[in-house]
Symmetry: D2
Subunit: 270 residues, 4 copies
């Protein structure tokens, strides 16, 4: 059977358009922002930085899945409110994660793109509920998931009627101990052959180390990915989660400049 | 901070007792049954086989998480009804999986032990809801999860007030291609040092191959696991899911006999 | 093509006999001793301990492959001399590693079983040279090698004419960070189906932690392995390499006693 | 202790120069050619293709380490002779693998750069022998080796006095089944921080699939690697080994053109 997600079923790229932004069709589109929404001031400041540097969407977590029950787990619905404010203020469409079916409608109402995280990639109830929406969903690959499992998870969304699906590679579990996950860029190249859906790369979560992010972001563009999900924080050392992987504003501006140069060389709009 | 799940916090084994069965404290307790509840006749026939051979609990999936949206996904609530019938008929406590918060109460009402599967090990909303119950939960290790992540997931349950938690190793993702997963028995030995919770082993899902199950079940006992979760089907070739990994009744009887012999040698009640 | 190592080619177990010891045919045979030969006194003391506790062969490394060029790399040929002495003194056949073709003849002359280590599993020149010998070879699985690759490496030996080959599982590289390697006992069960060669288990190198060794040694017996390779040191805290994984004499005696009990239950001579 | 390979010991890049080619110092240098030397005509034809397209060195295997003893294992010393001829004819320095200490001198005499392959990364006898040479060595990362193990293996070479060492990432073993290995480009970025030695990328062996090679080669450049090792074959369908991963001449020319464009954008000479 030809899966709905497959290139065999649909040879041409799926294009996903949001006010001013586009995924697919050769564009390289950058989603940036803090790991977690922490306060109005923090979110606004970072949002302006990423917009001015050339990001097309603003990301920020309101509901944070955390390994330990004792970690900071996000501002929840209050965080969604701050995302609504920030969107109005800076004019960027927004991305935030829904972690269960109970909160899905609230997230969908507050942001433009609903993220389903790596730990929920095979939360089939959540996939089915998101499949009933008509709003873009960004589905992250599980750290222990094969490409086929990722595509089958996306198939739940398309089969439910939601065809606006973005995939995201964010690192897999391997024996290699020198960083958090191993970014599977070859898997991105393979995904682009197998599916018409846009494929993004998240070098921030993959490595957990901001010093590695710019080089891998450039590699993602050169490898043919459709965009990035990258963490930026105006004060990484004060971040409530994942500070060491967030780029400083200056580093993000430098990254965007180098991406535009490579994009020009490759004939791709960044 | 000492986690609630840790041996540092509670040196003695957590004992979990259900009508006639006990987990922890040196016992080796076997949960057996079909992968999926398919019909009243199938469930009843298999339930009698496993009871007569010495299993202490009956397992059977009503809600089946499946990689593909086009696979058989279980009988749902009708399957729970069949589990209630089978429990009454054969007198064994039952185990079945809850895949989301919506169905959790129904599963909890129908069976004795609620399973949270490998794909949902970090579905924190489901863990929090199950933490509010006062009923045993069998939490399976994710295929890409570390022991620490498993223990932290169990911590969500204990922190919520539910102290009746069983852990289960069911294989991890590795490069080794010769079977579905790699059973991490050394991880079971380590878990027994780290936590007071009972630790079970599921050799059926780990290998996906019934020919490997008996040897690994014996190894689990010898390694110090507290019990087994093993698939048995009266007609594996007709099973709607995972037939190749289910033991035939005769093989299950042989396995139980060998486990009793090893148990006697080790001074453990099987 | 049917490989020489396959059960298809030879259904019955290969039996390997050395003065008083046998591998294959249902026996469970224990090779024990220090990681490295350090001195005459150390080797002799440990040899007596392992012989008295019931080990059938003495192991000890004279040539040690080490990750860092600055680590202790063994006594070399002087170490082989000490192995010859120890064999004469305690009456156990000996096992030691050859790390290259240059030293192979010297190792072969000094000991009964030549070990080819995990790092050299695909050193095809060494395999070819060892294939020309008529002396048992113990071939360890590489930490990143599949079962097929291990069997193909053994095929080099058999194809060269040396049919006395012992295989050994000693842990594979996986994402799981809680110990050095992940012991693949399911792989051992599979190997026993695929090949007629004896299959041993080395829980000492697999875990790097003596506290995990006895439980996994018992599991290896229960899983159907043909024997063990286990590190014992009279003074682990003074060992020049791998001290934390060596069993103390008392722990080794306890392990042997429990193995005999399980062996009796399983009808296997330990 | 500061390793000789570390940036702490030597902050500036090691530069390795061969007639007309340079590794390190910002250059991006391409080594290309067939997997195995098969015949004079095949080698010469491919050598001209890669030279004309802009490769700086010619690669070709004379001694081929092969998983199975029944596979084609190279032309051996006759193959070295063909490499000498091809170097004279096309004017490119050459790279070929030495698989043991016995053949090392012959390989060293015939080619400019001696390759030590992934399976031999921890063949310490071979590393010590190559450390005594004063000729560049290209050391490939083992498929199950950590970055630290690769650096320690290189340390054997430097400690022996040979400071002309090139490292090469060629894919690691992971659970991901969709291609042969998982290319660890993030590991390349980390290596560039840790060591002053040039770091190359081999996308051909990593993926085993020529359709994935160009995108990953571009990604390697963008990630900051110092060069490529890439397989090209004038008739991949007739290759005696690894045909499916070899680029056709036309594809290689297209790759080189795109690399030059990206190099210009990044200010790097390709």
């Amino acid at each position: 059977m030809k899966l709905l997600v497959s290139r065999e079923n649909q040879p041409e790229d799926t294009l996903i358009r949001l006010s001013g932004a586009q995924f697919g069709g050769g564009r390289f589109t950058v989603i940036a922002g803090p790991c977690a929404v922490e306060s109005s001031a923090q979110l606004r400041a970072t949002a302006e930085v990423v917009r001015d540097a050339g990001a097309s969407l603003l990301r920020g977590g309101a509901f944070k899945p955390r390994t330990s029950p004792y970690s900071f787990r996000g501002l929840g619905r209050a965080g969604l409110g701050l995302l609504v404010e920030a969107r109005a203020a800076v004019g960027l469409p927004t991305v935030s994660e829904a972690v269960d079916t109970d909160d899905l409608a609230a997230v969908a109402a507050a942001v433009d793109v609903i993220q389903i995280g790596a730990r929920n990639m095979q939360n089939f109830s959540l996939l089915e509920a998101a499949g009933r929406l008509r709003q873009p969903v960004l589905l992250k690959r599980g750290a222990g998931a094969t490409l086929d499992e990722l595509l089958q998870a996306a198939e739940y969304l398309l089969q439910g009627g939601n065809r606006q699906v973005l995939l995201c590679e964010r690192g897999i579990r391997t024996f290699a101990p020198s960083m958090r996950y191993t970014l599977d860029l070859a898997g991105v190249v393979r995904l682009k052959q197998l599916t018409h859906l846009p494929v993004l790369v998240d070098p921030s979560h993959a490595t957990g180390d901001a010093r590695l992010v710019p080089a891998l972001a450039r590699a993602a563009l050169a490898a043919g990915a459709d965009g990035l999900l990258v963490e930026v924080h105006a004060q990484p050392e004060a971040a409530l989660s994942d500070g060491p992987q967030a780029l400083l504003p200056e580093a993000f501006r430098g990254l965007m400049a180098s991406l535009r140069q490579i994009g020009t060389a490759l004939g791709r709009a960044v």
